[in-house]
Structure formats: structure tokens, C-alpha cells
Symmetry: C2
């Protein structure tokens, strides 16, 4: 039985899903591959970590997406450990390899800790749904521990240090102080919540380096007014899990360290580099691509999103953000369609639609490519609207709206649950008392 | 500093919360103790297991409840390992002991496996939120495994065996076939879903033993028409994790075993029995109580809900269901209030408000104490309404309604997520590919 032309898309993030949607009615077989059975709406991971939303508000089953928006694409759940370029197949940690005629690599980026001592061992990341759930449980557990033993406060149990003042760090910092001051202050009425410090550490001299300096300063002032301690021009030197040492020698006792200070292309980039040799990767470990986003020497392979070393008109690497991944996905779908007709691909051009970061209730910054800058309530409302529209699936939108409206009106966060989950038979009930 | 009269309530289930609410404005300190920081709406655990609802739809933070409905009760998170009756204090796995003037034990029941070989090691329970999440992930993972390797079907990978035909077993069976036939059939269009068997095993000669025989038969017929294989008069003899052996010698290859066939009073009953000596426990390990639900010889200690061996007018032990726990909680709150005024407690009388079990879309059975029996769509609508009203917290109700309406209209289940969560630093990202 001869099989149809098969396009394999690795990664169900923004890039992979955009590819899938844009290939929906092409006369080919499409297989979507991911380690998770759901798409994660990464821009809202911090809301799960700060108990504003729960898992299913920001995660959507990929099989549902593949059936409804992918024109009946197939799905393969598994961790890709190798791309065999000459054999035209991808290999999994478990199970048989999968052959492709064309391949789209959209596997994204992972957290980079730059070898700073102790960070990999002790810091929480914020790239995956499970990261957010683990961070939420950990932070809430610190408050429960302190409720039993106040002496832990002096050891910094309630202090959260965030390494990295980009959008993720800023949004998480703003979300945490709201959680502390609005919600946990009521949950723990006898605790002095001033002990719950949020320290945002950024080595550059301003937050949100990709935004206009005026918006950076606005973000800093807003965070500071909400009692986030913003430390600029100083980096994290290391940690032993109990104290974070900064590069200026300061030592901060803390209960939680979150690392949002860097990403690097995922491990598949290394696989490709081994086969392609020197010069295959850019700085940050991204994969060098042709103007049409195909792999040099392998026109049947495309790399998009955070994994791709695509450049803009200025020759600079494009930012590792969702719009670049989505536009890249739409572009390679067009190139694939063209190739089916024997036509060559066109070069990818990224259209900057602007950037946004929210700082909390009634405060966000946004800059649009036409020079328009929004901030305060206007910025916040556009942020809300954009994210509602972007969320995949009608049902998720309604739930997110309900949750947000509820949080807004009541200052409540219903998702502040500490849940330990493991596949466990009756013999090993989960430890829920730690 | 002298402390106020302190009532400690162990357990944030239906019984504990009813006690808390009924004590809300009493001039005493109330401390609510639980291993989890949330109340679990146990009757809907099966909906989380079958991907209809997600965690925060059926779990509500106890600190929010304590602040809002408990008149500012305090909360202590921790696992109670001992009750020191003579010292009037409870001891925790971690942290200092907690002294009480009056104590309400509402710690509930745990799954009983009756020593049947292999069940404790291999079966999933359905008593806790983490049970449901683990079961959901496990079942979905079997489908993903089969999508890669069809030969697993013959080994029964898609077969779920449920031990126990009470309300939990019946509702789970009905929920699973709906998940399989309505949702996963679309997610896995090339799989023959007839291989996804649901086998419900009940040693008695009918399902739902506490209901009228007519409703039992109706439930059996409805489940059978939705292709649940109902096996009556036969029990589970044992399992090796791959095959379930029944007491009639039948062997069923399976991928998942769920055990809903029995509960026993939680381990605190044993603690009390050690101090009270012979005759302290009833069959099923429940704690013998005085007519006012106090502990014999310890009028300052009360036991309610699944943990209590309270009896009805007929001298039979009361069923281990939510209404008994709630009415017990309200009752001991009245006895405690009376004791503050130096008045004696009155005997507890349980008022049966009826029972319900849902089988799926448009099908439920309900029997009311006045002899009214509902079934089909009428039973289902009353079931829906009752559970919406019972759910703690306005916000949860709205979300549950949105989720149910969405599931109903689209046959979709948005919560079919496989999430492994552990407290993990960056060093150990969660394995999501198994």
C-alpha cells in the first residue's frame, strides 16, 4: 500500500499549529508530533503559576485541534530524540521511527541557565504547563509552612527571586504581588505579608529590553509602586537553594527562585548540528536557515519559531516570540504547497505586529509598529482582548473570561490548589502533607 | 496570653465544612485541618477522571472557605497521624502538635481492597483529586500507546475494568463509554473503538445496592445499551496488573483497573481504637459514637461522616455518603454551641433526602424518601441541578456550567490533558513522553 506524501510537524506550539492550520486542506498526510497531548498557551503560563487560571484554561488537546483545525491531521505523542536527515525519518525515545517526505521542526526553546552555579538544580522554569503547576504548589506551600512556623520567614521562605526582567519575569512579578497582597493576605490574615518579597533581578539597565525605554521605565515604576523590588544592572551569581547571591555580592535569603532570564533552542538543534557540521547553529544554538526557512542542503526540511535562526531585514536574529513562530508556520505551509506544484519557495518576511506585557490589574505596556505606545488601563484592556482572541478554542475563551471576570471583581483566585500528581496505584497514595 | 476556647475540625470534606459553617459566628476559635489546601467535591471526581471537568471545577481552596463561610476560621495544612485523647491534642506528620478544647473528627474514609491479591498494587482509586488526575492521564496514555502500536489492543490496553457497582462505579462506567465513543472516537479516527471495553464487576446480584431494585435494573440496562459490560454476581479474585481474574475463573486482559468496591474508615479510627480498647470500632472500622455523635468517655470529641459508626432508627449503620456527613457536621456544631452554654447535646437523627446516580447523557436514577423515583432525562436534569447547587462557591458553579454545556452541545471534553506534575527544578524536567 503506497502512502501519500507525508509532512511531519514536530511541535504543537504556536508555530506547529499555524503550519497545521495552513496545510489543512492540502492533498497530503500531515502528522503532528509533540511530547504533550496538548497545546500550551505559553503567554499565560504565569497566570497558572499565580493561581489566576487552571490547566485546562491554557491547554488544549492537540487531537481536538488536529481533527477540527488541521483537516484531520494525525497525531503522534512522543519525545523526538533524533532527526535522521539522510534517512528522512525522526526517531523517538519510545516506539518506532516516523518517515517523512517533508519535515517542519517547530520544537521551540528551553530554559538556558548559562552554567550559573545552582540555578539548574534549584530554580523553577516557566516554559511548560507542569512548570507553572509546580511553581504554584511550591509558592503556596511556603505560605502553609510559615503559617505553622513563623521563624521560616526570617529564612526568606516567602521571598520569591525572579531572574530575568523580560516580559515573562515582569508578568510573573506583577502576578505574584497581586496573589500575595490581594488573595493570600486574606487567606493568611495573621501573617504580615510584607515578608512576602518579590525581587526581580535583571542584569541590563532596564526591564523589557525589547520595548521602548519609556515603557521599560513605566513598567519599573508600576512594579515598584506595587512593591516589587526591581534590581537592575545586577545578575544572579549563584544559589544554594536557600540564598541567591547577586553579582554585586548581595545575598538574598529566599524560598523560591524562578529563572526566566534566558532561552536556548531545544536539543533538536544539536542533533541537526551533528549532521550538518560547523556553522549550522547561530548564537543561542538556533538552526541557520535559508531565506525560505528551509534547512541548508535539505529543502525538504524547515525550521520555524524559537528553534530557527531566521533573520529580519536588519540582519538580526528574529525574536523568540509567538508571532514569529506563527508567521513562520504559515510561510512554510505556503512553501510546502508550492513545492507540491513544483514551484520554488519565497523568502520569509516577518511583519512585526508589536509587543505587549501586562504588569497587573489596570497596567500593561504595549508598543505597536506604527509607533503607538499604550500603557495603563488602555494597555491592559488591549492585552486582555488580544489574549482572549488568541486562545485556541471557543470553550477556553469562555472559561478564561469567567475566571478573569471573577478574579477582577472579587480579588479572588480560585485555582490556588496544591495538587501532587503522579501515576500511582492505591499502594502509593500521593504525599500531600509535605 | 490566654487563648480562647478552641474547636479543631479535622477534615475539609462535606462533614468538616458543614461543621465550620454552622460554627461561623460562635465566640470561639475554630481551626480546620486537612492534608490538602482544598475541599474536594468527591461526587464529581469521576468527571475529572473522564475529562469532563478539570481540577479547579471541583476543588475549592479551604482558606477561602474558612475566611468567607467559616467566620474567619484558621487553617492548618498537614497530615494528622495521632489523636492524643488524654493530652487533648492532635499530632502531625510534620510540625508541632495542636491542642484542642473540643475536637471534631471528619477525616473520611479510604479505599478498602480487602486483601485481594494485586489490587492495592495495581488498581486506581477514586477518592481524591490526584486519583482522578492520575486515572485520566493513565487512560489517555493507553490510547496514545495503542495509536503507535496496535498490537497492544489484543493485550487489553484499552480495556478498563471497574471493581464495584455502586454509584461511583456506575457513574465512572457511564462517563468512560461517553469519553470513548463520543470524544476519543473522533480523536483516534483510525482506531476501532469497540476494542475500548468498559467492564463493570459487581459481586452482588444487582448494581446500586442501596437503590430500589427497579432502578438497579434500569441502570444495568442503560449501561448495557451504551455497551458497558456489566458482570453481576462475580467478584475480582486478583490481578497481576495485566489481567484481572474474576471469582468465576474468567480472565480479562486490561490496561486499567479502577477499584470502587469498598471503603473503610480512615487510619485515625485505628488511633482512637488503640486508646479506647476493645469495642471502639464497628465493622468497616468505623468509630462507635454516642447518640449525640461524641466519643464514648470523651464528650469533648465528636466523630462524623464516613469515619463515624452512627446508626439510624433501624439500628443499621448510616451510609457513608455526603448528606450524612453534612447533617452530622451541622448537628455537632449545635451540640458544641449548647455545651458552651452548659447545655447537654441532643441525639443525632439523619433525615434521608434520597440518592442519585447518573449514568450519562440524559440518564440518571434518583429515589426520594417519599417513594418518588426519577429516571431518564428527568433524573438526569435533577442530578445536574442538585450538583450545581451543591458545588461550593459561585465561581465554580459558573465554570462547571460552562464546561457541561460545552460538553453537552459538542460532545467535546476539553480537559483531556495528560499532565505529570512534580515539584521539579530545571534539572529534572518532567517525563512527558512515556
Amino acid at each position: 500500500m503506497e502512502r501519500r506524501h507525508r509532512v511531519v510537524v514536530v511541535g504543537a506550539g504556536f508555530g506547529g499549529l499555524a503550519t497545521l492550520r495552513s496545510l489543512a486542506d492540502a492533498p497530503i498526510d500531515v502528522v503532528l508530533v509533540d511530547t504533550n497531548n496538548f497545546h500550551t498557551f505559553q503567554p499565560l503560563l504565569y497566570q497558572v503559576a499565580t493561581a489566576g487560571l487552571d490547566s485546562d484554561d491554557i491547554a488544549y488537546p492537540v487531537r481536538g485541534i488536529a481533527a477540527r483545525h488541521g483537516g484531520g491531521a494525525d497525531v503522534r505523542l512522543g519525545r523526538v530524540v533524533d532527526v535522521d536527515l539522510s534517512g528522512r525519518r525522526i526517531c523517538f525515545e519510545d516506539g518506532p521511527a516516523l518517515e517523512y517526505d517533508q519535515l517542519v521542526l517547530a520544537a521551540g526553546a528551553v530554559t538556558a541557565t548559562y552554567g550559573i552555579p545552582g540555578v539548574e538544580e534549584h530554580a523553577f522554569g516557566l516554559k511548560q504547563l507542569s512548570d507553572s503547576l509546580a511553581l504554584r504548589a511550591h509558592v503556596l506551600r511556603q505560605f502553609e509552612r510559615v503559617a505553622v512556623d513563623r521563624s521560616l520567614i526570617e529564612q526568606g521562605a516567602l521571598t520569591v527571586v525572579i531572574g530575568g526582567g523580560g516580559p515573562t519575569g515582569v508578568e510573573l512579578a506583577g502576578g505574584l504581588v497581586e496573589l500575595f497582597d490581594r488573595v493570600l493576605a486574606r487567606d493568611f490574615p495573621t501573617l504580615d505579608l510584607r515578608a512576602a518579597r518579590v525581587v526581580l533581578v535583571e542584569p541590563a539597565d532596564r526591564l523589557l529590553g525589547s520595548f521602548a525605554p519609556r515603557l521599560s521605565e513605566l513598567a519599573r515604576r508600576t512594579l515598584a509602586s506595587r512593591r516589587v523590588e526591581v534590581v537592575l544592572g545586577v545578575g544572579v551569581a549563584g544559589t544554594d537553594g536557600k540564598v541567591v547571591e547577586l553579582t554585586d555580592g548581595r545575598r538574598i535569603p529566599m524560598g523560591t527562585l524562578v529563572w526566566t532570564a534566558g532561552v536556548k533552542a531545544g536539543p533538536l538543534a544539536e542533533c541537526l548540528a551533528e549532521q550538518l557540521g560547523e556553522g549550522a547553529l547561530t548564537r543561542g544554538g538556533r538552526v541557520v536557515v535559508e531565506p525560505d526557512l528551509s534547512l541548508p542542503g535539505h529543502p525538504e526540511v524547515f525550521v520555524i519559531g524559537d528553534l530557527a535562526g531566521a533573520t529580519g531585514d536588519d540582519g538580526e536574529l528574529l525574536p523568540q516570540v509567538a508571532p514569529v513562530a506563527m508567521q513562520g508556520g504559515e510561510h512554510v505551509a505556503q512553501v510546502i504547497r508550492a513545492s507540491l506544484d513544483g514551484r520554488p519557495g519565497t523568502p520569509f518576511r516577518y511583519h512585526d505586529k508589536g509587543s505587549m506585557a501586562t504588569i497587573g490589574r489596570h497596567a500593561a505596556v504595549a508598543q505597536l509598529p506604527n509607533g503607538v505606545r499604550l500603557s495603563g488601563t488602555a494597555g491592559w484592556l488591549s492585552w486582555l482582548g488580544l489574549h482572549l482572541v488568541m486562545l485556541v478554542g471557543f470553550r477556553n475563551r469562555v472559561n478564561v473570561l469567567v475566571n478573569w471576570a471573577w478574579s477582577y471583581l472579587t480579588y479572588d483566585r480560585a485555582s490556588r490548589l496544591i495538587v501532587d500528581v503522579d501515576e500511582h496505584p492505591l499502594e502509593h497514595p500521593p504525599g500531600t502533607s509535605s
